[in-house]
């Protein structure tokens, strides 16, 4: 891709990467010594455990909560699972049911030892990996056969609360030209410490992420794909308290993208930072294996903080997210780092500042499928102006070669998008992207112009912020509100009780296999 560039000091970029690397190492040292109830549930699910109790509680929750309550989770659920298999359970499902419901809990003492328990899971580990790999290969063969969208990929959301209506709307959007369809989750699902089961038809503000719902939307998008000859991508949310479980479900149900960002949960859902950074790591191990593209949530910082003054916090966070993703084995091509078009549109030259940020992000993260988010904060009920605002966003996106573009909706400030709103957004974007397809290759930025100077300033500020975060550690800097002007403490927030230190003999052969790659 040939394009105009803003002047970048490569040494400043290197400094950012070095600082982010040290910040991520500190996080990783903590993560490697801990596990969570969410991680352990994900491991049981990946081994094939499924089903719910008569009361509607997932069996994996019953099993994990039982061992957590007994203070035994530090061994890893795989330890008990392996011992149950050695004790006669025919498969991981039956073994999980024993862990959940057997009259006596396994206190984990005596033989068989950790090594034997782990060995007993070798065949189950292989089939768990094979299931993820089969879904990845199936996606690959469909992508080879069908035509992929041209970046910026047109990403739209559906959010009716009813998965069957979502399927109708997803198909309508795909037919109208959407390349990526995301089903927004029901409000507050991120705070549920279990994944609901089955197809769901009631949800406020969105639709529950469940494995069955994933299948329904996948089927709908596959149908449109076969019909139109285009590959249509599916997105959901691996965030909140069930990050790892949802990442596994998405891996085997062939999702293409996942919103996946611990920082988002910490800042905007008040989820405990220790909990979610551990969950994120394991979720990203599944994601790395399955070839899913993550979308990170830095764009949200600008919905609470000023988009001009705090632009560098987005860039700094992107460096940290990149470093953490590398430690989970993601390739750069899987890192959809997020940012947004949120500067006050009435500010003089606001478009130039947006171009500067988008161009800077594109140049620094040149292999990454950058996720570009539309204006929301300054939207009003004037749907006509809003439509123009979104068109300017499209123009900046195509001119600076953003990869994934969530389309703005003119009814942003009013309601979840109607079918009509999405149709018109797609039509307008098709026009702007088409009309300006190669504009970016025609542009040269003035060396000392407004755009170039802005890009340099934002990068310099990001270096400073990363140096501070490194000095304080990420835990402390989040505590003082370094990102999004939101403050969170290390032991505060939801889900901290579900964090457990690993024993010296922690057993998790599936995670080890994912780590070996």
């Amino acid at each position: 891709m040939i394009m105009g560039t803003v002047p970048l000091d490569a040494r400043q970029v290197d400094r950012c990467r070095a600082l982010a690397s040290e910040i991520a190492d500190d996080v990783q040292r903590y993560v490697d010594n801990h596990t969570t109830v969410g991680v352990e549930r994900a491991i049981l699910r990946a081994y094939g455990a499924s089903g719910i109790t008569e009361g509607g509680i997932p069996i994996v929750n019953v099993a994990v909560d039982r061992y957590a309550k007994a203070g035994l989770l530090g061994h890893g659920m795989a330890y008990f699972l392996g011992r149950a298999i050695l004790g006669g359970a025919r498969n991981p499902q039956e073994a999980t049911e024993r862990l959940a419901f057997s009259p006596e809990i396994d206190p984990g003492e005596g033989a068989p030892a950790a090594r034997s328990a782990s060995d007993a899971l070798v065949p189950a580990t292989e089939s768990a990996l094979a299931r993820i790999d089969a879904a990845r290969d199936e996606r690959g063969s469909r992508q080879e056969r069908l035509v992929a969208g041209v970046p910026p990929l047109k990403y739209v959301i559906v959010a009716t609360g009813n998965i069957y209506d979502d399927a109708v709307q997803a198909k309508a959007a795909a037919s109208a030209g959407a390349d990526v369809v995301a089903v927004i989750r029901a409000t507050a699902q991120s705070l549920l410490d279990y994944v609901p089961e089955g197809a769901t038809t009631e949800g406020f503000g969105g639709t529950f992420a469940t494995q069955e719902n994933f299948k329904i939307i996948r089927r709908a998008l596959d149908e449109v794909g076969e019909h139109t000859g285009r590959y249509v991508m599916q997105t959901n949310y691996s965030s909140g308290l069930c990050m790892a479980e949802i990442a596994w479900m998405a891996s085997v149900e062939r999702l293409d993208m996942l919103l996946n960002d611990a920082m988002y949960g910490i800042l905007f859902r008040d989820i405990n930072m220790c909990r979610t950074l551990i969950d994120q790591y394991v979720s990203r191990k599944f994601i790395a294996r399955s070839g899913i593209v993550i979308n990170t949530g830095e764009d949200n910082y600008l919905t609470t903080a000023n988009a001009v003054d705090k632009a560098h916090t987005v860039l700094a966070s992107q460096f940290i997210n990149e470093a953490l993703a590398l430690r989970a084995g993601l390739r750069e091509e899987q890192m959809g780092l997020g940012h947004a078009y949120e500067i006050d549109p009435w500010l003089e030259d606001s478009f130039l500042l947006e171009i500067a940020q988008a161009q800077l992000t594109r140049q620094i993260f040149d292999r990454h499928p950058i996720k570009w988010m539309p204006p929301t904060k300054h939207k009003t009920g004037d749907i006509f102006l809003s439509h123009v605002h979104d068109a300017m966003f499209d123009l900046a996106g195509v001119a600076t070669h953003q990869t994934i573009e969530l389309l703005g909706m003119f009814s942003e400030a009013i309601h979840n998008p109607l079918l009509m709103d999405r149709y018109l957004a797609l039509k307008k974007t098709r026009y702007v992207h088409g009309a300006c397809r190669h504009l970016g290759e025609e542009i040269e930025f003035k060396k000392d112009g407004i755009i170039a100077r802005r890009a340099i300033l934002v990068l310099d500020e990001a270096v400073e912020l990363l140096a501070e975060v490194k000095r304080e550690t990420i835990w402390e800097s989040i505590g003082r509100g370094a990102f999004a002007d939101v403050k969170r403490t290390r032991t505060g927030g939801k889900g901290f009780a579900g964090v457990v230190q690993r024993n010296a003999a922690y057993v998790n052969p599936l995670l080890s296999a994912l780590e070996e790659g």
């Binding site: 559906v158 959010a159 009716t160 009813n162 209506d165 709307q169 009003t380 009920g381 004037d382 749907i383 006509f384 009814s411 400030a413 009013i414 309601h415 979840n416 998008p417 109607l418 079918l419 009509m420």
Partner: protein, 257 residues
């Protein structure tokens, strides 16, 4: 929200039967709580339940611009609607040329005009002129059509005389002005004139205009009507289907009005 399926068709917002529609309008009131309430009631009078005033802004001194969303209670039964629809397969430029060449073996003579007092040639020009409309080239761009555009304010008698002299296969009458239904009267009078002169069966009569549809054209004694959004290729395809079909054309029944 109306959710009971009574077989009627309602506007589709994001769920079946939600009836969601949007209205934009201006009221001659400055923005105020009273103006907002007025907008809400105005929307309710239009049949919108639970209206939400999404925006209220001063758009001029003493005037407010509103965007309102609400659930329309109105439903229609599409099966109870009977409309005359032109069902012509739209052909490509090449296919039109090829069929005229192969089947008719001569050019189709087309005469067009805005009749009566109507001076608005934008419609007839869009269909006939080489340039066409919305990227769709006009009938003049086809080798298979011999096009005579007589322009604006052509009297019915003059149009009939010229069309006969030119040996017209088809006459396109455009009526843009719709004041007091003058478009209907003019068009109707032209069809009757051709009928009276005794050559109605030898010519296809096409009527076009922003307030025209196929049903109206039939009612006024024409063979086909073309409304807003019609492209030249629609008209070209219709003429090819009518004049270049393999079958012997049916004698056109006399028009009773």
């Amino acid at each position: 929200m109306p959710t009971s399926p009574d077989g009627l068709l309602r506007a589709y917002g994001d769920r079946a039967d939600d009836g969601m529609v949007q209205m934009a309008f201006v009221l001659a009131l400055p923005p105020s709580a009273r103006a907002r309430e007025a907008a809400k009631r105005f929307a309710e009078l239009h049949g919108l339940g639970e209206p939400i005033v999404a925006t209220m802004e001063a758009c001029a001194d003493g005037y407010s611009f509103f965007v309102v969303y609400g659930h329309s209670k109105h439903g229609i039964d599409p099966n109870a609607i009977d409309v005359a629809e032109l069902r012509t397969e739209v052909l490509t430029h090449d296919a039109v040329e090829q069929r005229i060449r192969a089947r008719l073996k001569r050019r189709i003579v087309v005469v067009g005009a805005c009749t009566g007092s109507d001076a608005h040639t934008v419609g007839i020009d869009a269909i006939l002129n080489f340039k066409g409309y919305a990227g769709d080239k006009g009938l003049e761009s086809y080798k298979g059509f011999d096009v005579h555009n007589l322009g604006a304010q052509v009297e019915n008698e003059h149009l009939a005389e010229r069309a006969r002299a030119l040996g017209a296969d088809a006459i396109l009458v455009s009526q843009v002005i719709t004041q007091r239904n003058c478009h209907r009267e003019n068009a109707h009078a032209f069809a009757r004139l051709v009928e009276r002169q005794g050559w109605r069966s030898q010519v296809s009569l096409l009527l076009g205009g922003p307030r025209v549809d196929h049903a109206l054209a039939l009612e006024l004694g024409f063979d086909a009507g073309f409304g807003p959004g019609t492209k030249p290729s629609d008209v070209a395809s219709y003429l090819v289907e009518r004049l270049c079909s393999d079958e012997v054309p049916h004698p056109i029944p006399p028009v009773s009005l």
